[in-house]
Point group: C2
Chain length 382, copies 2
């Protein structure tokens, strides 16, 4: 495999962009990435998206965007792995460049969610679960996560308020990220008083939907000058059963465990080497389970990392340094690309008030469904 490096990044503010079309938000991120990279063309485009066929009656999103952003004739394709679509698209682009067949690739994560009513968005998001065995029972995607969280609290004796630090940290970091969906300080009291949307999940446990797009351009490593170069040193994808009831242990994200383990091995690093972790906090319970599966906490004790102040920007393991899904926002198919853009911002030292001092190795983990598809990437300065 050829080594691959980052050439440019771009992102839009996540919001309810009712004045902008799917084309426009995707185009904005793509043009920003090309501007950042100093080029106006790439060989191939990989689009991560989950919902455009239902929300925007638009399929064939690869060509839809290669056409719109002026990449006429160039190869393009859409990759979908539910909320893991962004990182899955990044991995596809990586394989194409690593194989030697493609010399430069853009990954564009894009999602336009808010053009439909809330109930339609909820129904669309539920397609990440098993239609035959989960949706058939009428459960929503939040409902599935609520079952997992309730079981976790029961099994390990945690209270709802114990999860507050994850929401508080994400919101505190998002205050300094101009692209974040929410700019609002959260306290434990606010967290507890926020409405109960699917018990025990409160509104402030859950990431907000939104419209947004993020883009990254990658090239072979030898095309980028070695000083200040950012390399993709690991990419690993693993899966679990799509329905939660089929898992041997619904409280252990086995695919997150496997893909992170494989990523550490591929990058040749230890847990301690990781300077920060952009994790997939679609719900606070997912942040906790992800930390446990990746080896940062014992089973049942991930909550403790928050309670012991170990997740802040200047702490042991900074997570969600730009706001995470919780406060930066979760435009589902775009999220995995936002995470990677944020890792790159940290490694470039561009994060100002939420900069992790001396960040050299960053990890991002994107999760599709309730732990069904998990893609882990490690990026390093070098």
């Amino acid at each position: 495999m050829r080594k691959v490096a980052i050439l440019g990044i771009g992102q839009t503010k996540i919001d309810e962009h009712w004045d902008k079309s799917l084309k426009e938000i995707g185009g904005e991120a793509a043009f920003l990435a090309m501007q950042d990279a100093g080029i106006d063309k790439v060989d191939a485009l990989y689009v991560g998206n989950m919902l455009s066929s239902t929300i925007s009656t638009q399929n064939q999103l690869g060509t839809f965007f290669s056409d719109w952003i002026g990449l006429w004739k160039q190869e393009s394709v859409k990759i979908e792995a539910a909320c893991g679509s962004g990182a899955a698209a990044f991995r596809s682009a990586l394989m194409a460049v690593a194989s030697g067949d493609v010399e430069s690739a853009m990954v564009l994560g894009v999602e336009k969610m808010t053009d439909k009513a809330g109930k339609d968005i909820t129904a669309s998001l539920a397609t990440a679960a098993d239609a035959d065995y989960e949706l058939e029972q009428g459960i929503s995607f939040v409902g599935i996560n609520a079952l997992i969280m309730r079981r976790y609290m029961h099994e390990f004796g945690w209270k709802h308020e114990d999860f507050a630090p994850f929401s508080i940290n994400a919101h505190a970091n998002a205050l300094h990220n101009p692209f974040a969906r929410l700019h609002e300080k959260v306290t434990t009291e606010k967290f507890e008083k926020s409405s109960n949307i699917a018990s025990p999940i409160h509104l402030l446990d859950a990431s907000p939907v939104g419209d947004g797009a993020a883009a990254i351009i990658i090239v072979p490593a030898d095309k980028v000058p070695p000083h200040s170069r950012i390399l993709v040193t690991a990419s690993a994808s693993s899966t679990d059963s799509i329905a939660v009831h089929s898992r041997r242990d619904p409280l252990f994200l086995n695919a997150a465990y496997l893909s992170s383990k494989q990523a550490y091995q591929m990058a040749g690093i230890q847990l301690d080497d990781i300077d920060f972790f952009e994790l997939h906090d679609a719900f606070s319970i997912m942040a906790v389970l992800s930390l446990e599966a990746c080896g940062f906490a014992e089973r049942g004790s991930g909550v403790r990392l928050g309670l012991e102040n170990k997740i802040g920007v200047q702490s042991q393991l900074p997570v969600c340094t730009r706001g995470g899904l919780k406060a930066r926002g979760h435009p589902v198919g775009a999220t995995g690309v936002y995470q990677l853009v944020e890792v790159i911002q940290q490694l470039r030292g561009q994060c100002e008030k939420t900069q992790v001092d001396g960040a050299k190795i960053g990890m991002a983990q994107n999760i599709g469904g309730s732990g069904a598809s998990v893609i882990t990437h490690i990026l390093q300065v070098g």
Copy 2:
């Protein structure tokens, strides 16, 4: 890039499978491919599908199938490029194996279309076109192809009946393919008398929808004994504008031209070396335009290849040797994989009455939208 070879194939009969679920038809093809390959596990799964999110309220089809067919833990992802999804998925798998990161990969093209009413299927298929500029006008996907065909007939002076040989050839070949959707002899008279569904397109110009799945397993070439080995010697993808009105020349499939040219170069072959061509005859006009773009006929004269009996199994350039989209059927996201399975069947010499004598080099071309995404593959014995 590592060289890649075929290890196994599987396919289901294309039909209205109201007694089988999406899971079951996909699983059937996947298990047949594993049986054919003599293995029970692969490293990664690439699913080509276009419509499951709208027709079956199911996304995350990669993991949906890796779970169902027992590939627990293994990487999986869905690739979508409208009706070109199957070949796009095959190309993604190819990149992953060629890069050295994946040792064995399954490509599964699967589509369950007939569980909804005709008008819903028509609406879903229209998402292959440009939602902002084409669908907004109320045109269907057949309608777009009808505009192209009418212009072609006007420009080059051909009559509707001149297109009959493509339909007749496809149906004649499908009579000997047990997996084909339609087993019905077509004559010029029948062709002309079939109902006019979007003038000038008659029913017998158009490929039928259907439920179906096809699968292929690929591995590095050195894992397969050299005698009777089938290699993937070229894979090339190109795009055009998604909306037909944006093209400089709506009667020339520029993406088909570019991807086929690149494929010939990659395989190191000339046009004459190609023993047969599984082309994308979603409508008879598409068969004609594809032949012209790939260099088999002059502009405006592709129709002549049919009229001069040059497309039959024992002729100059056999096309649609197993029935093509027209008669084998067109389960959209699965079609590109069916085409490749059929190329492999020919190269293995398994086609009995429609066997192309001494077939050593076969080409397949899969088209997404009305020429927007085009993926060309060349497979060779060797």
